[in-house]
Symmetry: C2
C-alpha cells in the first residue's frame, strides 16, 4: 500500500471505466483533433462569457464520460475537480448541476493528476464505487486572468506556451467490482511536493515546472525500485519544448536517460510551426485532453502497457508574481497499466 | 464504510493527535484570545506583503502542530492544505519548505473540513500513518482580493462578516497505530455538494452558505439515521448571525430544532458589539482557529462527546460576481468524538 517515501501501490488497482475529452477549435485543428471526442467550433460554447464557456465545456466532458461509460450521475459518489481560475469558478458553475459531493482541487495544470490520485485512493479505500475526475482550462479565461487582455495582442516569446481550451473527465471505478469494465488500471501514484527553483519568468512556465517533474519522477523510481526502463512511456503534462529539455538534462545528470521514453502532452497537442504555439500547449486542459484523447486509448489497446503520467503545475499567481515572488512547480504521478 | 448516499463511517476512526492555532491581534482580543496558541501582534507577521504574512502564519501553525505533537516533519506523509487566495498562494509559499507532498484544496471557507475529510480517508485507507491538514485566511489579503482596498474605508452592512486573520493546523494519525495519542476521533464524514440558491449579495455570505449547511446536515442525519439529538454540538463554520438564523429556520421547517445544539464559529470568534464585526467572523481561518482553540480542546476533555463540525464555504469570485453570476455555497461535515 504505502510504497517508499511518498508513493502508493494499489493492491487491487482501481480501473478507469470511461473517459471523455472536449476541446476548442484550435485544438481540433491540431494533431489530436481526430481523436478528441468533441471539438467545439464556438470558443464561447454558446455562453455569454469566457468563464461560463469553460464551465459549459467542463460539464460537457463530465456528461460525456458518464454517457460513454453508461453510468448514471447517481452512481458517482464523489467528484474531484478543478481548474486554473481563482476560486475554481469554472468548476463551481460547471459541476453544480451534477449534484455530486465535490472535492475542489487546485494544483495548477497538475490538477487532473491530483484528481485521479485522490479518486483512486477513494475507490480503493472502499469509500465509493465510482468517482469522477474532471479538469479544464480555456485559453481566453487563462490569458485574461494571468497575462494580458486578448485585444492587446502582446508578443509572446518562444519559451511561452499556449493555454489549451479543453476539458477531460475520467470515471474511476472500484477494481474489485468493475474489473471487467476496466479500460486501464491505476496501479500506483506518486503525489508530488512543491519544488521552487526560484524561476521568475511567467513566459517560461516549462522551466518553472521541470524541477518538480524531475523530483516526482525520481521519487517514483526510488519508491518503486525501478527506472525509466519500467515504463513504455513517461508523459509529462505541459513542460513544452523548453521545460522538456531541462527535464531530460536533469534526469541525464542523475543517470536516467529519458530520451527514448519521454513524451510531453504540451508538445503533442499542437502542430508547433503551423499553429504558432511556440513551446507547446499548457493549462489543466492540456494534460486532461491528451490523457483522454491519446494516452488512455493507447493503454487500452496495449500499445503502451505501462505509462507514468505526470501533469505538471506552475503555481503562478499575478499577485505573488507582481510582488516579486518566484513561480514554484508541482507534479503528481499516476501509473496506468493495461488491463490484462 | 460507505454510509448512506454520501457519508463515510470509519471502522477504526483516525485520531487527531495534535493541533495548533495562530491568529492576529483582533482575534486575540476576542473571546477566543486566551485559548489561541499564538496571537501575533504584528499583522504583517514580520513580512513585506499581506500574502507573505498569511504564508508565514500558515507555516507557523503547521510547525507548531508538529511541535506540540512531537512529530517530525518526515513523519507526515501528505499535506492537505488551502486558503482563499487565487492559486492558493498562501499555501504554496507557506508550505514549500516543509517538503511534504501536497494536495492543494479549494473549498472557500470550508477548506479545513475538506482537508480533514480527505486526510482522514487517507490514513484510514492505509496510505499514510500521519497527515497534516492546514488552512488559513488573512483579513487584508481577503479584502484586497474580494472587496475594496483597505484605505478606501468602505462601509459594511450589518450582514457582512469580518475575515479572520488566522490559521489552524491539525495532525491526523492512523487510529490503529496511534490510538493512545488520540485527542479526538474522526468517526465519520459527510462531504458536501455545491448548493446554489441564487444568492447575489457579496456582503451577505451567510445567506449564500446557509442552504449548503442545511443540505450537508440533513444528509448527515439521513446517512447515519440520526437527528440533532445525536450530537452535543452542531457547529457551522462562518454563517454568522444572518446565515445561522436562515439555517435554523430551514432546519425547523424540515422538523429539526437545532436551537439548543447549534453553534457557529463566526459568532464565537469575535465580541460583536465591542469589536464591530457585524454578522461575525469568516474566512478559512475562522473555522480552523475555532476548531483548534475551542472545539478540539472541549472534545478532548469530554465536555462535548460528539460534535458535527461543518465549515461552510461561499464560492465567491470577483470575476463571476461581476459577470452577474450567483454565489454558490458548499459545506463538508466532520464528526469528532471523544477518545474513550
Amino acid at each position: 500500500m504505502q510504497k517508499g517515501k511518498s508513493s502508493i501501490e494499489f493492491e487491487t488497482p482501481p480501473v478507469v471505466t470511461s473517459f471523455a475529452s472536449v476541446a476548442g477549435k484550435k485544438e481540433g485543428e491540431g494533431p489530436l483533433g481526430p481523436v478528441i471526442d468533441v471539438v467545439e467550433q464556438d470558443e464561447m460554447f454558446g455562453m455569454d462569457t469566457w468563464e461560463q464557456a469553460e464551465s459549459a465545456m467542463q460539464k460537457q466532458a463530465a456528461d460525456l464520460a458518464l454517457e460513454k461509460g453508461q453510468v448514471r450521475r447517481q452512481e458517482i459518489r464523489y467528484l474531484f475537480a478543478g481548474d486554473l481560475l481563482g476560486q475554481l469558478i469554472a468548476t463551481s458553475f460547471g459541476t453544480v448541476d451534477m449534484e455530486i459531493p465535490l472535492f475542489g482541487l487546485y494544483g495548477a495544470c497538475s490538477t487532473m493528476a491530483e484528481a485521479l490520485c485522490l479518486g483512486a485512493m477513494t475507490v480503493h479505500g472502499g469509500y465509493g464505487d465510482r468517482i469522477l475526475a474532471v479538469s479544464s482550462s480555456h485559453f481566453a479565461t487563462a490569458e485574461k486572468q494571468f497575462r494580458f487582455p486578448l485585444a492587446y495582442g502582446n508578443q509572446r516569446p518562444f519559451s511561452a506556451t499556449w493555454t489549451v481550451t479543453g476539458a477531460g473527465a475520467v470515471v474511476v471505478s472500484d477494481g474489485k467490482k468493475y474489473a471487467r469494465d476496466g479500460i486501464a488500471r491505476i496501479t500506483g501514484v506518486t503525489p508530488g511536493r512543491i519544488v521552487d527553483f526560484g524561476s521568475r519568468d511567467s513566459m517560461n512556465m516549462g522551466a518553472a515546472m521541470a524541477p518538480a517533474a524531475y523530483h516526482t519522477i525520481r521519487q517514483n523510481f526510488e519508491d518503486f525500485g525501478i527506472d525509466e526502463k519500467h515504463y513504455d512511456k513517461i508523459i509529462t503534462g505541459d513542460l513544452g519544448e523548453v521545460g522538456s529539455k531541462i527535464l531530460l538534462d536533469m534526469m541525464k545528470q542523475a543517470g536516467n536517460d529519458l530520451s527514448g521514453v519521454h513524451m510531453d502532452c504540451g508538445m503533442e497537442i499542437y502542430e508547433k510551426e503551423a499553429q504558432d504555439t511556440h513551446a507547446g500547449g499548457s493549462g489543466c486542459g492540456c494534460a486532461a485532453v491528451t490523457l483522454c484523447a491519446l494516452i488512455l486509448p493507447r493503454v487500452r489497446s496495449g500499445e503502451w502497457k505501462r505509462v507514468l503520467y505526470l501533469p505538471t503545475g506552475a503555481l503562478l499567481s499575478t499577485v505573488s508574481f507582481n510582488e516579486g515572488q518566484s513561480i514554484p512547480g508541482i507534479c503528481h504521478g499516476i501509473v496506468f497499466e493495461t488491463c490484462s
